[in-house]
């Protein structure tokens, strides 16, 4: 199907209460040029679900160069467990070297994480998505309490679509909670990141991720030093609602 014939708004409503597997099947039935984004965290269940639908799934991971050893091990374990190729994407050497030379190895603690993320993750992701018609992510509504618009199960990707490429994004786990994810992992014997056994919930780069205490939101384990400025760009919702 071409992306111009695809109606994400209608399908988002139609599939909102359906299972992640149904949404992945819709994605595969609708697009051939589609890939799963695998971060080396709980989104591993997407790979498990997808490989039960078809064996030739395309998977990519963003190797920022700063991931935990446990995450690299999981990526390798998943490659072998499911007998799939994983396209591991690296940032531009020259750009990373420029950043490190001018700002050091830990600039994000001072300048915020977006510059480093842009270089190590954003650019490779943008390049990859420019080659695809659609992608599948592990994004969930409960991951960020600040996300106002929610995460539809399928949407036109406004961030990465271009005038030449109307990109579609599927978020099959949007309505799942962390407990549902972990029930699936245990029931289906899905390989998981060993960091989860050490108190980590959300897992990103090593310097920007930490374990959280019981009942802390997973967001508190990521970029914790930025808490005061996280809403920097948001227009205060209480004001806007009035």
């Amino acid at each position: 199907m071409s992306t111009s014939e695809f109606n994400p708004e209608r399908l988002a409503n139609e599939y909102d209460s359906q299972s992640p597997e149904s949404i992945i099947k819709l994605a595969f039935d609708s697009f051939d040029n589609i890939a799963i984004s695998f971060s080396g965290s709980e989104d591993v269940i997407l790979v498990d679900m997808a490989t039960k639908i078809r064996s030739d799934v395309k998977v990519f991971s963003l190797d920022t160069g700063r991931l935990h050893a446990e995450t690299y091990r999981l990526i390798e374990q998943v490659r072998e467990h499911y007998s799939i190729e994983i396209d591991v994407l690296s940032p531009d050497t020259e750009t990373v070297q420029d950043l490190v030379r001018t700002k050091g190895l830990y600039s994000f603690y001072k300048d915020g994480h977006k510059e480093c993320c842009g270089i190590r993750k954003g650019v490779p992701l943008r390049r990859k998505l420019a080659t695809l018609s659609a992608w599948i992510t592990g994004q969930r509504k409960d991951q960020s309490p600040d996300t106002r618009d929610g995460v539809p199960v399928v949407e036109r990707d406004a961030a990465f679509s271009t005038s030449d490429n109307n990109l579609i994004k599927f978020n099959p786990l949007s309505n799942w909670t962390s407990s549902q994810i972990w029930e699936y992992i245990r029931t289906n014997g899905v390989p998981f990141n060993a960091l989860h056994e050490k108190g980590y919930i959300s897992i990103g780069c090593e310097p920007c991720t930490r374990p959280v205490l019981p009942n802390q939101h997973e967001r508190e384990g990521r970029w914790w030093w930025e808490e005061a400025t996280q809403k920097e760009c948001g227009l205060h919702s209480d004001n806007l609602k009035k």
Binding site: K114, G122, V123, R126, G204, C233, L235, H236, L240
Partner: protein, 111 residues
């Protein structure tokens, strides 16, 4: 075409860092003269013109650009590089474009 640049004053009275960064890029890239109006969204005053424009256009982030065309159509841009590319037919480098996307889409933190 009429271009309005809306930037924010935070609830604590300080200017928004991202807004200042975008204004500096407009100046550095030579596009500041293309901006017809600069309006403040003051979080301390819900009736400030910028806050009202945000409400009118259902925008929840700052800065943003409102582009009003002679045809009567209006487009709103919250991502600087897209505004530059689509409205001013300019270009930005890959790193800035990627950072703009991440800034405007905090949900991508979890990719």
């Amino acid at each position: 075409m009429r271009i309005t640049f809306v930037k924010k004053i935070k609830a604590d009275g300080n200017p928004c860092r991202k807004c200042a960064e975008v204004q500096a890029r407009l100046e550095k890239d030579g596009y500041i003269d293309k901006i017809d109006h600069t309006i403040i969204a003051d979080e301390r005053d819900e009736n400030s013109e910028g806050m009202q424009l945000a409400k009118q256009h259902m925008v929840d982030r700052a800065p943003f650009f409102i582009v009003e065309h002679e045809s009567g159509d209006t487009n709103v841009y919250t991502i600087y590089f897209k505004f530059v590319k689509e409205v001013l037919n300019g270009d930005t480098n890959e790193q800035d474009a990627a950072k703009d996307i991440l800034d405007a889409n905090p949900d991508l933190d979890y990719i």
